[in-house]
Amino acid sequence: MKSLKVYAIFYLIFLYAPIFLLPLFAFNSSTVIAFPLDSFTTEWFTTLLTLSEMHGALLSSLKIAVTSAVLATSLGIFAAMAVSRYSFPGQKGIMGFIMLPLVLPEIIVAVSLLIVILRMGFSTGAWSVIVGHTLICTPFAIAILQSAFASLDPSLEEAAYDLGETPASTFRLVTLPLVMPGIISALLISFTISMDEFIIAFFLTGAEPTLPVYLFSMMRFPKLLPAVMALGTILVVLSVLLIVIAEFFRRRGAKRTGNDTGGFL
């Protein structure tokens, strides 16, 4: 038991210590990334504001993340609904293949997509990153939405129908409000994954880089390294915030329908 505890503590330090170093150097006035720390400054954050290329990268990242999140969540709704309502032959196998990108190395997804796109004679661009990100976000969206649909008592929909509603108005008045927390949660998680994703974006991005790709390119300039730290800090804080909000929505939904299954936190 005791050694397990020690293991857990070391694991957490190993996992999070580098991330805690980010804000440390982001607020450090020295351009050299080394201890001892110099003095406190917010200079690097103001530098970020002046980098116009970064603004372009931020914009294209937002565009890609919003589109991928909407696409992945929409696909997720259909898949989760189909799985929770109907059983059909080969259901488990099909679901297995849909969930596979969760564990597939992203580099495989990225390279194979790149080959397919180039072979078909298209050129890469924001759209191809969206395709790749939708692919890797969909399993997460499905996992979240599946638990939202599974905790929905099917007799609620029947009750609405019994009380005179049509299937369409039942979906609008009962199903949608009850799975809405799950939908919001799926949107936020997908958005976060897409915002943070590097490998697929790096391979498929074309002329306009996303924020992580731009961040990577900045690393070549030692002068900009503290600004990279600042940008990294912002991304980490934002991601954590979004995931916490997503989990809040998921739990609220689970509490309402009275049973909690799944979830990532």
Binding site: S155, Y161, D162
Partner: protein, 367 residues
């Protein structure tokens, strides 16, 4: 209770309903007539098809063949949202994202009523089920009994011709269940709507219903009012399912046109036609009788009907009642006798020799 239903107009009529789930034959030729304003129960063990039949009436379930008529209209192809029926689901299916009042007024959305009229109707329905003033509460914070009442109000506010209830009391604890049984009977009398109740609890069905249909494996075994069902079950299986029934083996024969039964341990007696629901068997038979049709005779008491000697095997004391398991002389099997306890009269002990009074008219003969 038997006379009132005779002049009831038929509201629901089902003819030869057949239903399969894949290979499984769930409903095997259901024929039923249910009257206007009747409190009707579908009673049977779990898995016998009660819910399926109820959902067939509600319009949630398709059937292979047969007819469901409501008020003389064939319901084939009429979807659940267009039928004059409303359902109280086993899980109550209260919308957790709405308030109590919004739940109750849910079905009034397309009624053309003004907002104020809807609110008033909802409030009245809530008052009817004893939840006056609960309208603004969040539905997901209610107790089981309260949810049940909201579900009732939500269905009744639409003034359906038929209210369908799928095991509405099974999730409640015993006290609450007994209280709700009485309230449901009162409510049904008050609104005069036909109630069709699904239950696996024979006591509940006996307490609440005008008539009961007993179902086994997708078939209706017997449909009668509670008294007839209890006193004159049409088969051994129904007899066994409703209340406690003692069974003893017997020999049957006809002598001078009289139907004579020789019951093990009790002796010979003549029986009437209505005591033989499956026809009079020739030779070996089984005879059934209820625990309260037997009486233990104390010293000095004489039998009102017939008498037999027995030994007490087991005594179960319930306060107001005592159950005795006794063995008649020459019989291996014990039978149960229920005796009301009278102040000043001792409960008898295990092993005592006793005389038992029994009435030939209470016997039911099965093949």
């Amino acid at each position: 209770m038997t006379t009132a239903k005779k002049d009831r107009k038929t509201l629901i009529s089902m003819q030869n309903i057949q239903k399969h789930y894949g290979d499984y034959h769930a409903l095997r030729g259901i024929n039923l007539e249910i009257g206007e304003g009747e409190f009707f129960s579908l009673l049977g063990p779990s898995g016998c098809g009660k819910t399926t039949l109820l959902r067939t009436i509600a319009g949630f379930e398709d059937y292979d063949s047969g007819y469901v008529m409501i008020s003389g209209n064939d319901m084939r192809g009429v979807p659940a949202n267009k039928r004059p029926t409303n359902m109280v689901f086993q899980s109550y299916a209260i919308f957790p994202h709405l308030t109590v009042a919004q739940n109750v007024a849910f079905g009034l959305r397309k009624s053309g009523m003004s907002k104020a009229e809807k609110a008033k109707a909802a409030e009245q329905a809530l008052e009817m089920v004893g939840l006056k003033g609960y309208g603004h509460r969040a539905a997901h914070a209610l107790s089981g009994g309260q949810r049940q009442r909201v579900a009732l109000a939500r269905a009744l506010v639409l003034k359906p011709k038929v209210l369908l209830l799928d095991e509405p009391l099974s999730a409640l604890d015993r006290k609450m269940r007994e209280q709700m049984q009485v309230e449901l009977i009162k409510l049904q009398r008050e609104v005069g709507i036909t109630f069709i109740l699904v239950t696996h609890d024979q006591e509940e069905a006996l307490v609440m219903s005008d008539r009961i249909a007993v179902m086994f494996e997708g078939e209706i075994a017997q449909c009668d009012d509670p008294e007839v069902l209890y006193r004159r079950p049409k088969s051994k299986r129904v007899a066994d399912f409703i209340g406690v029934m003692n069974f003893l083996s017997a020999e049957c024969r006809v002598e001078d046109g009289k139907k004579i039964v020789n019951v093990a341990g009790l002796g010979e007696t003549e029986v009437a036609d209505d005591q033989c629901p499956e026809g009079f068997p020739d030779g070996a038979a089984t005879v059934g009788f209820r625990p309260e049709t037997l009486t233990l005779l104390y010293e000095g008491q004489t039998a009102t009907h017939r008498e037999a000697a027995a030994t007490i095997d087991e005594v179960v004391y319930y306060g107001d009642m005592t159950y005795y398991d006794v063995r008649f002389d020459g019989v291996d099997k014990a039978v149960r006798i229920s005796m009301r306890n009278i102040f000043g009269r001792d409960v008898l002990e295990v092993g005592s020799r006793v005389r038992v009074s029994w009435s030939p008219g209470a016997l039911v003969v099965f093949g």
